[in-house]
């Protein structure tokens, strides 16, 4: 192996070792991620909000009758409330990462979304 190739290989090896071993050498911050349960609930919440918006769009574009829309919308909103309740209780629990109310939620639309299900606005 040529000297240049050997040197480049060693440099690459050193870089790889630095990248890979960093988590093992540096003390990990105690809370740097969302708790698994909360992530699941947030995924469910976003899916539910999307479903509410879709139902409203279906209604406004004439695909759902008033009666069906009210039934579907009521059921969806009840399910959304259940998810929000679970999120609230998960935040108050021991795993909470933002019990002080400063947790950042990726793509969070919670406050916005209570008006967001109107798709046309």
């Amino acid at each position: 192996m040529s000297v240049l190739a050997a040197m480049l290989t060693l440099m690459l090896l050193a870089a790889v070792m630095a990248v890979v071993s960093r988590p093992l050498l540096v003390a990990r911050k105690p809370e740097e991620s969302d708790t698994p349960r909360r992530s699941e609930l947030e995924a469910e919440r976003e899916a539910k909000y999307r479903e509410i918006r879709d139902a409203e769009l279906d209604y406004r574009t004439g695909k759902l009758s008033q009666e069906d829309y009210e039934a579907v919308n009521g059921a969806l909103r009840a399910e959304a409330v259940q998810i929000l309740d679970k999120l609230e209780s998960s935040e108050g629990g021991p795993e909470s990462s933002d019990s002080e109310g400063d947790g950042k939620v990726e793509g969070d639309q919670a406050v916005e979304e209570d008006r967001a299900p109107d798709p046309a606005k």
Binding site: P23, R50, S65, A80
Partner: protein, 724 residues
């Protein structure tokens, strides 16, 4: 530099082994720092493979023929444009491209999910590294791109002339991006099963990757079809070739998954089905790579040797068995959370669409692997041709297009018959008007399938057009915006829905092109001498005069050919000039001096340069097979072989020029293949619309400010929702 490349591969293999171990140790012992280290192994792998790929690319661009791969697939005379693409024309280079792309996509998904799904990600990391390790292992033990020869040959063999086409610069990376992106949802699906966390989160994390896989595979398939149409000289864009089918199958499976995952996201249903589709899509992607690289089935697109068959078979076996094991042992967790509210709902239409797509996939799978199946059962290899595929796929494609029109007008969860009837009025009107016009004009009298496809496509256009119109109307009523702004806002707020509708339009347009071009084509294969003419459909084609060019700089697309013989064809309709076509056949240096000092200069595989006049209504397609075996031309070659030494290729080219002049002076009759195909252009336009729609659906939603949301605010939101 080959040594650096080789060292990179060994280092990459070691990183894969370490990353797998670290990820599994971390997740099994609950020590996240080890999982984190495993995740970082993927980043490191991407870095190492980037270096390795650059080493190989530079070797091609620098004509470093000490690399066996470079000497085998490139040459000093290969145009630079094609040298860059020659990397993935070889077995070894394409394996490196595969592993490199996989490492890049893996890095992206693992970076995006670094703070979520710890357990699922850790297992997914191990699986992604397992795939990476497999391909790197192939390169280390079977087909290394960094093998060298000392002393290096003075010149390389050159790139396969068939691959000297602009779409070949993009087609393989697109297809391989699609294949490797298919592995991402597979890894996360398996990770979710292993971690026993089969909720909607892993789907949410990988949905865009599944869509990107679908988009890239689709673009790759379209580019391959375009290449086939304009390069292979048979006049078709799809021949049900094994390798074509191999890329179509994961695309069909991914199409089914993209639809059915919405049901799981919304309703918590179809978990077994979705995870099975994801696993099947990934496995089919590996099988696609296997077909191209193993050479197990004959195909014009297969560029691999037969050395990689056994490792691929083992990998595919492991994938199938582990998928079956994981799904069957986790079936309790995969139970649906809800049932279908109504048979008349979008969920039901999606289910029907899934059944058709999987049915199509099964038919194609059976037809593609039939030679292997028949050989295993009877000892004789038999194969099925396009008529067999058409018999089953045409009706299924019709149903699929029809469903893509029905879906948009049916509501989620439930729809009433009254609403459905009202929503079908416009789409049905479109279909019926189309039917009436076609029957009245007698255009499609004898082609029932084409007629049905045109009506189904009209139905889709009516259905999607109605959806857009109603959406814009609602938006205007509420926001008071002008129509263009309302349209943009509507799409912006509902990218998935309206992007998906655009895809449906694209598919309808594409199938109209397929139905028209395959049902109403006029073709003629005949021999013509200069001055002679023939009738093809409504057109008259006259062979005006031959053409011949010798040096590469006169090669119309600069592919590095040594001799190009062609014709000028004048096309008229009812006496009026329509177009002039210039088909040609290019001859290449074979790189085999044993053929003779002149003969080897034109002894390579000849490649058609098709003459096409494309239009929105029809394509006029032409190819020529000039006769260079005439006694006069053979005599020039024989004399040249005897009198010109091998070391004087410049003098050899003079002999080739003499040949060209002789060909022009007394041109022999040439074989022509002439085709008039209606609406071929619509296939490419449909493909572009599909890609555009997919990009709209893939594009991230407008950025939402990361709100700091307090517990109290959440409660308030919950109360408002409950009241609403």
């Amino acid at each position: 530099m080959a040594q650096l490349g080789g060292a990179c591969l060994i280092l990459a293999l070691a990183v894969c082994a370490y990353g797998i171990g670290a990820s599994l140790y971390g997740v099994r012992t609950g020590r996240p720092e080890w999982s984190e280290s495993g995740r970082r192994s993927v980043y490191a792998l991407a870095g190492i493979l980037t270096v390795a790929f650059m080493v190989l690319e530079l070797a091609f661009l620098r004509n470093d023929f000490s690399f066996n791969t470079v000497a085998d697939t490139s040459s000093a005379t290969t145009p630079t444009f094609y040298k860059a693409a020659a990397v993935w024309s070889s077995q070894e280079g394409s394996l490196l491209l595969w592993a490199w792309l996989l490492s890049l996509w893996s890095t992206l998904i693992l970076f995006l999910t670094r703070k979520r799904m710890r357990d699922v990600s850790a297992y997914a990391t191990a699986i992604l590294l397992g795939f990476g390790g497999f391909f790197i292992g192939l390169m280390v033990f079977y087909a290394t791109p960094f093998a060298t020869t000392d002393p290096a040959p003075a010149e390389g063999v050159g790139l396969d002339p068939l691959l000297r086409h602009p779409s070949m610069m993009i087609h393989p990376p697109m297809l391989y991006s699609g294949y490797t992106l298919c592995i991402v949802p597979l890894a996360f699906g398996m990770g979710a099963l292993l971690a026993r966390k089969v909720d909607a989160e892993w789907i949410k994390a990988t949905r865009r990757f599944a869509m990107a896989a679908w988009l890239f595979l689709g673009i790759g398939i379209m580019l391959g079809a375009r290449w086939s149409y304009s390069e292979l000289g048979w006049g078709g864009y799809w021949g049900w070739d094994a390798v074509e089918n191999a890329s179509l199958m994961p695309w069909l499976c991914a199409t089914a998954f993209i639809h059915s995952l919405m049901i799981q996201e919304k309703r918590g249903m179809l978990k077994v089905w979705n995870v099975s589709l994801v696993l099947a899509t990934g496995t089919l992607a590996i099988m696609g790579t296997f077909l191209v690289r193993s050479g197990i089935l004959s195909s014009i697109h297969a560029f691999g040797g037969q050395t990689l068959g056994v490792p691929f078979v083992i990998l595919i076996g492991v994938l199938i068995l582990s998928s079956i094991y994981l799904v069957s042992t986790r079936r309790d967790m995969l139970r649906s959370e809800h049932r279908l509210d109504s048979l008349l709902s979008r969920e039901s239409i999606f289910l029907a669409n899934n059944v058709v797509l999987v049915g199509l996939c099964f038919v194609i799978f059976w037809g593609t692997y039939f030679p292997l199946i028949s050989e295993a059962l009877t000892g004789h290899e038999a194969s099925v041709g396009p008529p067999w595929f058409d018999r089953y796929t045409v009706p299924l494609a019709l149903i699929l297009v029809l469903l893509s029109g029905i879906g948009p007008v049916i509501a989620w969860r439930r729809a009433t018959l009254a609403n459905a009837r009202r929503n079908f009025v416009i789409p049905l009107s479109f279909a019926l008007v189309t039917l009436a016009v076609l029957l009245a004009t007698g255009v499609a009298d004898s082609k029932p399938f084409a007629l049905a496809m045109f009506c189904c496509a009209a139905f889709v256009l009516g259905s999607v057009g109605q959806e857009y119109w109603r959406g814009v109307r609602v938006r205007r009523a509420i926001a008071g915006e002008p129509a263009p702004l309302a349209l943009m806002a509507l799409v912006k707020r509902n990218r998935r829905r309206y992007g998906g509708y655009v895809v449906h339009i694209g598919i309808a347009v594409l199938f109209v092109g397929v139905a028209a071009s395959s049902s109403f084509q006029h073709a003629s294969e005949l021999s013509l001498s200069p001055g002679q003419s023939t009738k093809v459909g409504a057109y008259t084609v006259r062979y005006v005069r031959p053409t011949a060019s010798v040096t590469p700089k006169y090669d119309p697309v600069h592919t590095g050919s040594t001799l190009s013989l062609g014709a000028i064809l004048d096309v008229t309709k009812q006496g009026k000039h329509v177009t002039t076509l210039t088909p040609a056949e290019d001859f290449y240096d074979s790189g085999e001096p044993a053929q003779g000092s002149v003969a080897h200069l034109i002894g390579g595989q000849p490649v058609s340069q098709v003459g096409i006049d494309g239009g929105i209504k029809r394509d006029i397609w032409s190819a020529i097979a000039p006769d260079i075996d005439t006694p006069r031309l053979k005599r020039i070659i024989e004399i040249g072989n005897k009198t010109i030494p091998l070391v004087r290729p410049d003098e050899g080219m003079i002999a080739v020029a003499v040949m060209a002049r002789e060909y022009m002076r007394s041109p022999p009759p040439a074989e022509f293949h002439l085709i008039i195909s209606p609406l071929v252009m619509w296939i490419w336009i449909g493909g572009a619309i599909v890609a555009g729609g997919a990009l709209i659906a893939l594009w991230p939603a407008p950025s939402v400010v990361r709100a700091r949301v307090s517990v109290r605010a959440r409660s308030r939101a919950a109360r408002r929702l409950a009241r609403a």
